[in-house]
Subunit: 338 residues, 2 copies
DNA sequence: ATGAAAGCGCTAACAA
DNA sequence: TTGTTAGCGCTTTCAT
């Protein structure tokens, strides 16, 4: 029965025969192992090319005890944040000639357990677990292979989590605002129970205190444009100049806020400066004015986590705890009165 | 050398020994093959559980000549459209117990060739190639395994491409508009050279003709909000009532358009109805008013393509040409004057 | 510098 | 109903 598509079943043996050497020699020649005469190596290479030899990676994995594959398990289904993360992960892995097996946990613990088992059965060399917000998620537990959590951190401090530094990002925003002469700052963000909301608030308050500027308001709601617009109305209602800068927990909020302010007759950035978070191009660039924002550098985060995983697979110590990577300030027009 | 993580190297032999049977029997028992006494099957199962046996999928693949893995190759890097597609693909594959190997071609032909070779070396059972727009892409050529193109179609009519029906989607929009009494329709869309722009225009014009309503304007530009706003100004400049409905080629355009119209003093949907395309929640729901739009059913597209691939892997005829799946109308507030 | 042989962990045909 | 025996295609000692 098996596969009826055995047409291209060229094996090391075929190559060996054509090159007039043994299978073992073919393996060495093609993988650059052992001591081979250059002439032999070439002859093998030519034979392989001629036969369009495709080394069976499955057999190789079995023999070598290593699959050159890592699993990527998403906590809560694919989100917008997953994309840049994946890109970075692929960057690192591709360089190491390892492939990515994709598993979408969809926030379902059962589904996740299933996938985890599957990855283990497939003998992946390591696993990266991604979440979509910095909030913590349950550890997948002790596994015989290295695991790294990215963006969403593990609740087990013994695991390694790589994420962006929300506090630092918030500080960056405040310092930028203060540098441009703003002194009465507000913070408008998502749900109070989200870790990212909290961390950014901490950074916001700490930086404001350090700079000696007033925290004029803190408004917590949802991660939506609609909430940004609502917050804008609340802010606009306060008599003139009570707030001259707003740091928003997301670009969506920031966008809603700028729309709301504009419609309330408040000029951005002349009267009020606005800084967002995420550097989500489609929001930040379409906003009027385009948003100055904090970029969590998701691609780099993915790259960093995957390269740590690779190192661990190659025997390095994986490390533990939360590694927070710095965010970056991206300046557009919403924060700089000209 | 090899892997130092051989701790959990429980094999069929270990299970066989514990259960007091032969390795062959373990295989049959665990995979439900052959004729086994129920009692034996149970004993084996218990032994396997006790030893926490993880059947080595690599060895199985080698023996069986099938990897239960398909490759997913993205044409032009991960885009917003890739996410729902992936979700659907995973839906179908997951049910068939097959995993997905992810490869991001990033629009680089060289990179793509490399990945293709890698997938072949890994002996995937099939490949799905995704693009982000319905526009055509180069075929990956004849491969020893089935390949299906999704969203982005192959330029080789001998390949199978699964995509959404843009013309039908446009017709849906027009029919909806006409049903609500609109008679002077405009089409505002992306670049003229994009296949999706063209197909939607064809559907738009055909449906307008069929309904006997006027095509008041066709404005082609870019896929951005900014273009939507610009178009709104152009439309608003025409003296009152020249256009009473606009079908947009994307939700981004539609959103920019509604913003532009509102700011020009044109009321949506009272004076002008607007219908978008994509049903991209973050745009459609945040727009004011929320957008009526055409949903290309991307998740279903992914599901459909993957299930066809699975069938082909199991020996069915793959079929060829472009299979266009119908879009769906999603009604919100931008099109229905109350 | 190269060949021979064993084995990675599983499945599947054939025997018993 | 179960056990035995060959492989699957590659890598890797160990001889030569």
């Amino acid at each position: 029965m098996a596969s009826a598509r055995n047409e291209s079943a060229v094996t090391v043996r075929d190559v060996a025969q054509l090159a007039g050497v043994s299978p073992g020699t073919v393996s060495k020649a093609l993988n650059g192992q052992g001591q081979l005469r250059e002439e032999t190596r070439q002859r093998v290479q030519e034979a392989a090319d001629k036969l369009r030899f495709r080394p069976n990676q499955v057999a190789r994995s079995l023999a070598e005890g290593r699959t050159y594959t890592v699993g990527m398990l998403t906590s809560d289904s694919f989100g917008r944040f997953t994309l840049p993360l994946m890109e970075g992960i692929e960057d690192s892995l591709g360089a190491g000639k390892v492939s990515t097996l994709l598993c979408d946990g969809r926030g379902d613990p059962l589904r996740e357990r299933h996938y985890l088992a599957e990855l283990l059965n497939r003998r992946v060399d390591g696993i990266v677990v991604t979440g979509r917000r910095p909030d913590a998620r349950r550890s997948v537990g002790q596994l015989p292979i290295p695991v790294v959590y990215v963006l969403g951190r593990s609740d087990d401090p013994g695991d390694l989590s790589v994420t962006n530094d929300d506090e630092q990002g918030a500080r960056l925003a405040v310092e930028h605002l203060v540098a441009h002469g703003r002194t009465r700052l507000a913070y408008v963000s998502g749900p109070a129970h989200h870790l990212s909301t909290q961390l950014r608030q901490q950074g916001f308050e700490a930086a404001a205190a350090a700079a000696g500027v007033e925290v004029a308001d803190v408004l917590l709601g949802r991660w939506s444009e609609a909430w940004g617009r609502t917050a804008a109305q609340m802010l606009a209602r306060r008599t003139g100049g009570a707030v001259d800068a707003v740091f928003c927990g997301s670009d969506q909020i920031a966008r809603g806020l700028t729309d709301g302010l504009r419609e309330a007759g408040v000029r951005v950035p002349v009267e009020v400066s606005v800084v967002g978070f995420d550097n989500w191009d489609v929001m930040a660039e379409a906003a009027r004015p385009p948003l100055t924002t904090i970029d969590p550098r998701l691609v780099r985060l993915g790259r960093e986590s995957a390269s740590r995983l690779l190192a661990a697979i190659d025997g390095a110590e994986l490390g533990q705890g939360v590694v927070a990577q710095p965010c970056e300030l991206v300046i557009r027009e919403s924060s700089v009165p000209t």
